[in-house]
Amino acid sequence: MTNSPILTVDNLKTYFFTDEGAVRAVDGASFEVHAGKTVGIVGESGCGKSVTALSILRIVQRPGRIVEGAIRLRRADASGKRGEVDLASLDPEGAEIRAIRGGEIALVFQEPMTSFSPHYTIGNQIVETIQLHQAVGKAEARSRTIELLRMVGIPRPERRIDEYPFELSGGLRQRVMIAMALSCNPKILIADEPTTALDVTTQAQILDLLRDIQARTQMSVIIITHDMGVIAEMADDVIVMYLGRVVESGPVDEIFHAPKHPYTQALLRSIPSIFAEPRSKLPTIAGSIPHPHNRPSGCPFHPRCAEAMPGLCERHAPQLLPLSPSQKASCFLYHEPEEVAPA
């Protein structure tokens, strides 16, 4: 925590402009990623966590667009001087952001089945990535690819490199995916639900692999998941999102042991636990995620919140404010509305 964060997301707002109006997929999210650390972003589906990842890489597709906020990446510029670049202000198709995509920030995501094009061999697709970012020849790139495949635990990589994605099992494919993401030694790896589509044993292997690699390369990882178990296993810091906003953030221990926000508390209650009483019903969060065009006024969680304070929560939007040096939450249980302004 001593050095400054490698990536700072500050008040990020990504909206989708549809015929029915703007959908605020990410609505003022702020967090930091530190070098060598793992940040977990957690939330129900539809909370804006994947869009946040896409926003960082600037590959949000129309009709989506970043409307506000900054994504500051600390990096060495062309002269080798350390500096900062605001990704949100870059031309999304420009050369600079493309050099960062795959080069400094890599993405692994949830669909190992379809994340590769079935028309090219895996080798082709990895070699391409290497050659995009580094001036190396084909043969050199190929041998690097074989090395990478070996590193992620693919048996007989010399042969596998010429196979098509559909010839591999799901677990192997996700390993290849990780190999591809690592091919240019990124500083940050974003893993969007990396294990969702896999069976439990494979999940564990993949998570082990990620941890192992992080230990070796000292890169930062942003892991996006709805699975609190994965968070507990992987993350150093946790960010809880709800309807596009960060409702709570903090070190993993504090979030798990002292969740502050009622939503975080509810999420944790819904994890099946070996300590839970057998045959008891798993607690769920009341209600469902509201329609994006009917965003609740005030605190977006108040209709589902057991501790909602009538007259306050539906009228005022809470701010994400620090509760301790490391933990933040956005709830009127912990601070008063600063001024009475209509949300």
Partner: protein, 330 residues
């Protein structure tokens, strides 16, 4: 894969045989025969025709025997590599077809090239920029070609060409090159005559291809591998061409087999209006004249080409799509 190929080949033979029977039957469908048609034509060009001639001619051409006998004779000839003699042109069928075949190919290929050159970029653009103004405009232009009757378009363009540009009227060669031996100048002359038929023939198919390309590409663009590729830092242009466009090409290849026969029968009208020395008008005239061996051979050829085309496009499909290749291997 070998058994698969052999299996396909045997089925193709059966299909071709069925086509030969059907084509012969269809040509015999109208009442009367070549002699009736011939006499009608003579009468209309002012030649005195007496009923005796009809009898003479029927015996001369062997048209007085039953249809199945004529079919068997034809088949026997084909088995010896002789497709019969055209009753109207009075020379072996292959002599006539041979000359026109490659000109037909040339016209068809240039029409296909034009169609693809127009349809692929528009289709890709329309999919990538779905619902944009340009999407609407390009799609609209593409569809105009489908909607405007090609025979009318051909006639109007031909007249405009004559009236305002002094262009040659119809055909694929300038008069001075018609009998000339092949030379670079003649080839250049042919190339100069190709755009008009290619554009007219091509516009009709453009809309269909734009539609297929757009729909396929829209499907492909939503697939996760596109995001993967994007996250790699590829430029959007390269990315789209390398991944989704490649995948969207599959249906194009699978229709390749039907393309050639389709262009021939679809181009009869335009070829007539523009007076192109291709197979289409020949087929139409042979049918009108009930010149059965000529018409039968052309129909049979088209059938064989379709069967072969399908076969080739299947193999091409296996070549470009590894998934199909693996399925068939098993």
């Amino acid at each position: 894969m070998l058994t698969y190929t052999i299996h396909r080949f045997l089925l193709a033979l059966v299909t071709i045989w069925a086509i030969s029977v059907l084509s012969f039957a269809i040509i015999q469908l109208p009442p009367g025969d070549y002699v009736t048609a011939y006499i009608a034509q003579l009468a209309s060009s002012g030649v005195d025709v007496t009923p005796e001639f009809a009898e003479n001619l029927r015996q001369q051409y062997g048209l007085d025997s039953p249809i199945w006998v004529q079919y068997m004779k034809w088949m026997q000839q084909i088995a010896r590599g002789n497709f019969g003699r055209s009753l109207e042109w009075q020379v072996p069928v292959m002599t006539i077809i041979g000359d026109r075949l490659w000109l037909t190919m040339t016209v068809s290929v240039s029409a296909v090239v034009f169609t693809w050159a127009l349809a692929l970029p528009i289709g890709i653009y329309s999919a990538v920029r779905q619902y944009s103004i340009a999407d609407y405009i390009f799609t609209f232009i593409g569809f105009i070609g489908l909607a405007v009757p090609s025979f009318l378009l051909a006639l109007i363009l031909m007249y405009v060409g004559f009236r305002y540009f002094g262009a040659n009227i119809g055909g694929l060669f300038s008069p001075e090159y018609l009998v000339a031996d092949w030379s670079l100048a003649k080839v250049w002359d042919l190339i100069k005559h190709l755009p008009l038929p290619a554009i007219i023939l091509g516009t009709a198919g453009t809309a269909q291809l734009i539609r297929i390309m757009r729909a396929n590409l829209l499907d492909e663009l939503r697939k996760p591998y596109v995001i993967t590729a994007r996250a790699k830092g590829m430029s959007e242009f390269r990315l789209i061409l390398k991944y989704p466009v490649r995948a969207a090409l599959n249906p194009f290849v699978s229709t390749l087999g039907y393309l050639f026969p389709f262009i021939i029968s679809g181009s009869i009208i335009v070829a007539l209006v523009l007076s192109l020395p291709t197979i289409g008008p020949l087929l139409l005239k042979a049918l009108v004249a009930q010149d059965m061996f000529l018409a039968g051979t052309i129909v049979l050829f088209l059938g064989i080409m379709t069967v072969l085309g399908t076969f080739i496009s299947d193999i091409l499909l296996m070549w470009i799509d590894p998934r199909i290749r693996f399925e068939r291997r098993e």
